[in-house]
Symmetry: D2
Subunit: 144 residues, 4 copies
């Protein structure tokens, strides 16, 4: 099984729209988080399990470009890949497409570092090899 | 100074609107929280100070009736009173009116209990008399 | 098939938690909306189809009682029933239970009226009999 | 009066925190919008007035880097400048600092285009010179 490319399906909630009648742009950043967390579950390391081991993955940066609006009633597919991983930092890329038409709605990325519960950076290769192995096995991919 | 009646002013943020072009109804519940927290600061017991003492005030119930929509560009006044307080539970009432016209937009209420950081109920009269005194001094008021 | 009782499954998103480490209480109001909209799709009248016919269903009131916290990592089931319907107004009741333990997390209700796109009340029995029939067929149920 | 640099003050709402006990990263994107809209009001062209003339300013891209967490109880200052403007597209930069310590919390930027209500791009120099003049007068500034 190829775990390195993950697709998360999502239909906008009504409360995610704004008075332009489209999904508010801030929600894409939330969808990226949903996708990232579903991705981690998919590859066998759910985020809540990681937190219960004392490891967090806060966001260092987030970027999103908006190509076309998403509207209530649409369904989108959100692809995610790990674009960079070194046991210390991790970056992901995301592409949102319309499920029906395949049209690209958005491209985005986030970067993260592994930290302890006090948000002190961690090198997981040494301290959490079981986490390290999961992400190292994915390889580095790009979507754009 | 009469502390028992508090007014919080708020203009809707764009991201709080939905595709009906009005503020999404869930945000009123958030505005009640903003008002409650501003109220506590106003009466001299900021919520972050209370949390730092190990006391939380989770919500047991929330209720809101929607009389008229609030739109982007409006400014509203949110009045709050403590409608019930016994050192164990506390209820508040809220009234949202349009600042310009005075028209009522919404009436609501929330009930709470005082707990420790593990969400175990607390009797604050005994353990936190300094918190108890602040709220007891307000008296019980109603808005509707 | 008995359409009158509907169950919607949901796992909290990370961004729905707050610093008490539980799902923020305002999100339950949003979950009720998600459930209501999924319910409408289930019974054959998706909300976006209704809006495209010029009918909206704004919220007149919302109420929620919080029995037990929902945490990140949990999965909940949200049951919904139509508790009142007369072609003019509609009320729903909701019950949130933990999927694993069956423990009740929350009980809630919302009331609505049918309106046109200018939020003027509508009697749908006369003007939109195809919508009326769908909801009338469900009967009135209660969850608590 | 120098209008080109604008500062917006904000204290996090409780519901903006997450279980890491910090403001959720998606909210910074919302704060940038709040700041942008307050900035437009400040320079004399409120966003609701612009919309009432049939002009919208959707987001083409957003970027945010997170330097230090913002916590409930903090107050931050959000500076904004127009970093690019040509009557067709506009970009802004934002810097979030702690009000008390001056420490940088976040740097970000957004880019926009002017559109009509159907989201068709507009050249405002010709069609809305009164909007054009306001933004052209600000000059292009950078924060980082």
């Amino acid at each position: 099984m190829d775990n390195s490319r993950f697709v998360y399906e999502r239909s906008p909630f009504y409360y995610e729209t704004d008075k332009m009648s489209v999904v508010h742009h801030s929600n894409y950043i939330r969808w990226f988080e949903e996708t990232r967390i579903a991705f981690m579950r998919h590859v066998g390391f759910p985020y809540d399990k990681m937190e219960s081991l004392g490891v967090m993955l806060p966001v260092l940066s987030a970027q999103c470009s908006y190509k076309n609006s998403v509207r209530f009633g649409d369904t989108v597919l959100i692809e995610a890949v790990v674009s960079q991983f070194n046991g210390f930092k991790m970056s992901l890329q995301y592409r949102i497409t319309d499920k029906e038409t395949g049209e690209v709605r958005s491209l985005g990325s986030t970067s993260h570092c592994f930290t302890d519960m006090e948000m002190k950076p961690l090198r997981i290769k040494k301290n959490y090899p079981e986490i390290y192995e999961v992400f190292a096995a994915l390889g580095e991919q790009t979507l754009f």
